[in-house]
């Protein structure tokens, strides 16, 4: 990205009608580690690629359980992701206290997006630098959403974000029609790992070693399993 004179703060438009700070935030998501998600008629599955910085440590946790029926995978500034996760957990708990039921995924996602939008319209704030794949089950069945630093949210059948996610997205576009009827095993170990790892396998074909393992999370009527 080229530096230009309209990107100093988030409250400045460029003459082309763009807010560069928001776009730079979205770039931070693209530079983050890969997260993949896909959905069937009964399950939603999330995966992230966990890479350890060195032999002395394990990797950063990028999948978070928000409630018994809802979890997220973050890509980008994971600390921002943790902060949003705290907010989402609080909202889900408050909903459970008042209504004694699971918070609808759409409502929660909209609250996160509204929060993110505020950060794009205040001179003393900065946009969140994290993209969230939100996977959950509610009365309307399994749902999968992507929350963007721009404050937009999109519903997906399958999606991938972060580094080398374009290859994963291409793969998912080809295979997504198989997913609605697929069993959990098929989704978990075959498709998800394929989609998540394939870009890395391809990219590192010539290098020694490979990527780290994958962590997966499945959401269904039972508690979220990681």
């Amino acid at each position: 990205m080229f530096r230009n004179q309209y990107d100093t703060d988030v409250v400045t438009w460029s003459p082309q009608g763009r807010i560069h700070q928001v776009e730079y935030a979205m770039e931070a998501v693209k530079q983050g580690s890969t997260a993949v998600a896909l959905k069937s008629n009964t399950h939603v599955v999330l995966a992230t690629l966990n890479r350890a910085d060195s032999e002395l440590t394990s990797s950063l946790q990028k999948i978070f359980k928000v409630d018994d029926h809802l979890g997220i995978a973050a890509s980008g500034l994971i600390s921002d992701g943790r902060s949003l996760c705290k907010f989402m957990r609080s909202e889900c708990l408050n909903h459970r206290y008042v209504y004694e039921s699971a918070m609808p995924v759409t409502r929660l996602v909209r609250e996160v997006a509204d929060n993110a939008q505020v950060c794009t319209q205040r001179s003393w704030k900065r946009p969140y630098g994290v993209g969230l794949l939100v996977a959950g089950q509610d009365k309307s069945g399994p749902r999968l959403f992507y929350c963007c630093p721009s404050g937009n949210y999109y519903e997906y059948l399958a999606h991938a974000i972060g580094g080398r996610s374009q290859a994963a997205r291409t793969y998912l576009e080809r295979k997504h029609e198989e997913y609605p009827e697929a069993s959990l095993d098929a989704l978990d170990f075959k498709e998800l790992d394929e989609a998540a790892l394939r870009p890395y396998i391809d990219a590192l074909k010539d290098a020694e070693g490979g990527g780290g393992g994958g962590g997966t999370a499945a959401d269904d009527a039972a508690p979220m399993e990681t």
Binding site: Y97, V98, E100, S101, P104, T106
Partner: protein
């Protein structure tokens, strides 16, 4: 309550009843800067729109009052579940103490496509609750995502509200029955003014809990047909009318069914028998009467 004479408003002129000005104005007669206003008073001199509690106290006026007793009240509400639905019933009376003041009050209200609310107790508090539930429904409508609150969620919400108000020593003086379908299954819950909440196959508030529930315990089955349920409810309503002095012979029944959604019947009366000798000649066996 007591008739007041017209108060001519100094703000609006003679012949208009309205608020007096907090600081009487002599328009055009005093120069600028001649009035002294506290920073909390609007310069036009009218009463501030938002009530500032600390200001009230400092003015030596009454402390913030909390509900001490109800004024216009409804009596019992009855509810039973049956095969494929749930039914609420109540009379259409709002009493003013012992006076049977308003005889066409609908105390069973549809909240959304799956829930009905029945209320006894202070009618103004019922209207306030309906306002709140309306706000919830509006939020659902604006979210426009096909999700709406289920009857169990409304029941939980109301129990939190009632309990919170009770904790502030300012209760909403109502006994509520929430009836609806929860994932296709009949749901019936009760919340009262101190926040006690529970759900069951058959419930009643007020006098109904003493008069109707024993009948329900004897005759209710969860797989009753709609005709049997209607007959049982009508029997219970009759007993409540005979024995509750604050009731009239004008009832409504609300149904929530898997087949037909929410429906509230027109008002109807039940046949009653008053030719018992003890009613015709109540003092026959008494001493010292003629």
């Amino acid at each position: 309550m007591f008739a007041k004479g017209p108060s001519h408003s100094t703000a609006l002129g003679p012949g208009c009843a309205g608020p007096p000005l907090a600081n009487p104005q002599n328009f055009g007669q005093a120069g600028p800067g001649a009035h002294e206003h506290g920073s909390h008073q609007p310069s036009c001199g009218a009463a501030p729109f938002a009530v500032d509690a600390s200001m009230l106290r400092s003015a030596g006026s009454q402390p913030h009052k909390h509900t001490q007793s109800p004024y216009v009240t409804g009596s019992s509400v009855l509810g039973i579940t049956y095969a494929g639905g749930v039914m609420l019933a109540s009379d259409t009376l709002a009493s003013y103490g012992s006076t049977k003041r308003y005889k066409s009050v609908q105390r069973l209200v549809k909240v959304n496509e799956t829930t009905v609310l029945g209320a006894g107790g202070e009618i103004s508090d019922l209207q306030y609750i309906l306002n709140m539930l309306d706000d919830l429904s509006t939020e659902d409508y604006c979210a426009d995502d096909g999700q709406s609150l289920s009857s169990q969620e409304l029941y939980s919400y109301l129990s939190r509200v009632m309990y919170n108000r009770r904790n502030k020593m300012d209760p909403l003086w109502n006994s509520l029955l929430i009836a609806g379908l929860e994932s296709g299954k009949p749901f019936l819950g009760s919340v009262n003014m101190i926040g006690v909440a529970f759900s069951d196959d058959h419930l009643a508030t007020g006098f109904g809990s003493h008069l109707a529930r024993p009948l329900f315990r004897k005759k209710h089955r969860p797989d009753m047909s709609e005709e049997e349920a209607t007959a049982l409810i009508r029997e219970a309503l009759e007993v409540c009318y005979y024995r509750d002095k604050q009731s009239i012979n004008k009832f409504q029944i609300a149904k929530v069914t898997t087949a037909g959604g929410v429906s509230i019947s027109d008002a109807f009366a039940l046949p009653t028998k008053w030719e018992y000798q003890a009613f015709v000649d109540p003092t026959r066996d008494a001493v010292g009467v003629w």
